[in-house]
């Protein structure tokens, strides 16, 4: 009886584990099945490097370069804002404030992740974009910059949390050695702790990028959605995710436009997959060393 129970539990766990992997594979197959048809309409290079996205003109043009670059510039901006802030917050939490207060503050920062992205979108439209419009004297505040700022806030909890963990896992003996050499706190942080935590910091950045590049609702609301190749942060841009979300409701199931949107999904899937893979490598490298 007991062996039977063990056998049952083991296999149940096995099935659960396998199912989650099977789902990932099925999703990818589904994307391929729905999206690959576009490549009989537009070549792969024409799709990825095409400069024009006119899906409902005649003949339609399915070049997603503006969308890729739109996602890229918004993500880049978000990372430029979020990484220094994230590192500074993590250092503050783990090295400056006393342990107990740090734990409370960290929980509050992690709460940022619980804000629905559509709420951040509201804030972006109502508060942030008028500010950007006035500061830079633009016709509209709905720009890549607005998207970057809001997405930086969305990525911060992930980034702070992982970097803080990385800093905390730096052995106490490094700190002792550094202080015993007559180093100040700041010297110890900059010269010993941050280098020792570097792989965790890189992993945090990669995961932050993954979070930002896949985000849809906030960017749909606040980046202006112009499918043009961006040349500055102060232009409206359109991201890959926003394109799919905005146009999916209007397409006819199975036509070229529909397939093109799934094609974007494939590209996005591959990008986030690679980013996650790289961040995983960094995290494993860290564990391997410790």
């Amino acid at each position: 009886m007991k062996e039977y129970f063990e056998w049952l539990i083991e296999n149940l766990i096995l099935i659960c584990g396998v199912i989650s992997i099977v789902f990932v594979i099925l999703i990818f197959i589904f994307l391929l099945k729905e999206g690959s048809g576009i490549f009989s309409h537009t070549s792969l290079t024409g799709f990825i490097f095409g400069k024009d996205w006119y899906p409902i003109s005649d003949p339609p043009k399915f070049g997603i370069l503006p969308l890729i670059l739109g996602s890229f510039i918004v993500t880049l901006g978000a990372i430029i804002i979020a990484v220094p802030l994230g590192i500074a917050s993590a250092v503050f939490l783990s090295e400056v404030v006393p342990r107990g207060i740090g734990d409370i503050l960290k929980a509050i920062i992690e709460l940022l992740a619980a804000i629905p992205s559509i709420v951040l979108g509201f804030i972006g439209i109502v508060i942030l974009s008028p500010i950007i419009k006035n500061i830079f004297n633009l016709p509209t505040g709905l720009t890549a910059l607005a998207g970057s700022v809001m997405l930086a806030f969305m990525a911060l909890p992930t980034i702070v949390s992982i970097i803080e963990d990385a800093i905390n896992s730096v052995p106490k003996s490094y700190r002792e050695a550094s202080y015993a050499m007559g180093a100040t706190k700041w010297q110890t942080i900059r010269r010993v702790i941050l280098p020792a935590a570097s792989s965790g910091i890189l992993a945090a950045i990669m995961l932050g990028i993954g979070r930002v590049i896949g985000e849809t609702m906030a960017v749909l609301m606040i980046t202006g959605n112009a499918a043009i190749i961006p040349t500055s942060f102060l232009q409206p841009v359109r991201t890959m995710t926003a394109t799919i979300a905005a146009e999916m409701g209007e397409v006819i199931r199975g036509d070229a436009h529909y397939q093109a949107l799934f094609g974007i999904g494939i590209v996005l899937f591959i990008i986030t997959f690679l980013i996650n893979l790289v961040s995983d490598l960094f995290l494993h490298k860290k564990r391997g060393k410790a």
Partner: protein, 251 residues
């Protein structure tokens, strides 16, 4: 024989726990002084008073006086940075930074603002030579320090301290993670280093104290029981408690 460090009526409390009780001790210059005693007797705590590393522990209170060259260590006005440059410390576990060998040795110079390549290289070579590592490592100074053997790592940690030209080197059970041969090599190194530096070593290994030190101090439950020439302590201890400990009846 002049005294480098003079400890008078030193008391230390961890919260309510009285960890050091009225410790009086003179530590001679350019000799090896060992502090022995059973676990928890306060020998590491005493060592950590000398470079104020106990400041990092919350809830520590110290009274009394420690003078190094007539400079008061325990005063709140003491410049910790210059104190710690003068009084270097080697820890129980080798703790090189996760940087290159070279960067480990020159760490002290870098934090005191020296970045001139030629100076750094000269100091690195000199310091590594003093700990007898330079010949082995001269071609791989840019390799990660964590790839070295434990013995090499511990020597590297000593070189890192020496690079700052300290006057006192504190060693907190420096051989406890090393094998017997590596232990002997570190002890040999201490005999060379005592020509230039005053060494204070905490050890739970009585044989090590007998082999490597000139002066031995025996501590028990936070009190300094007896202190004297190593050969006297081990052959003719004055205190019964010291005799019990060194003859193996206790501890």
């Amino acid at each position: 024989m002049s005294e480098k460090i003079e400890i008078k009526k030193l008391n230390l409390f961890y919260g309510d726990f009285h960890a050091l009780i009225d410790v009086n001790l003179g530590i001679p210059e350019k000799r090896v002084t060992s502090i022995i005693g059973p676990s928890g007797c306060g020998k590491s705590t005493l060592l950590r008073c000398l470079n104020r590393m106990n400041d990092l522990v919350e809830g520590v209170r110290v009274t009394g006086s420690i003078k190094i060259d007539n400079i008061e260590v325990c005063s709140p006005n003491t410049d910790l940075i210059s104190l710690r440059q003068k009084v270097g410390m080697v820890f129980q576990r080798p703790n090189p930074f996760p940087l290159s060998i070279f960067e480990n040795v020159v760490y002290g110079l870098r934090i005191s603002g020296t970045n001139k390549r030629s100076v750094l290289e000269e100091v690195a070579e000199k310091s590594l030579s003093e700990v007898l590592l330079f010949d082995d490592l001269k071609d791989k100074l840019s390799d990660p320090a964590l790839g070295l053997t434990l013995e090499q790592q511990q020597k590297l940690c000593i070189a890192r301290v020496i690079a700052m030209r300290p006057e006192v080197i504190l060693l907190d059970e420096p051989c406890s993670t090393l094998d017997p041969i590596a232990t002997l090599k570190i002890e040999d190194l201490m005999q060379i280093l005592k020509k230039d530096y005053s060494l204070v070593i905490v050890t739970h290994n009585m044989q090590q104290a007998a082999r490597a030190s000139d002066t031995t101090c025996y501590m028990l439950l936070g009190e300094m029981i007896e202190c004297g020439e190593t050969k006297d302590i081990f052959t003719a201890p004055k205190d019964k408690r010291t005799e019990d400990y060194i003859s193996g009846r206790f501890g």
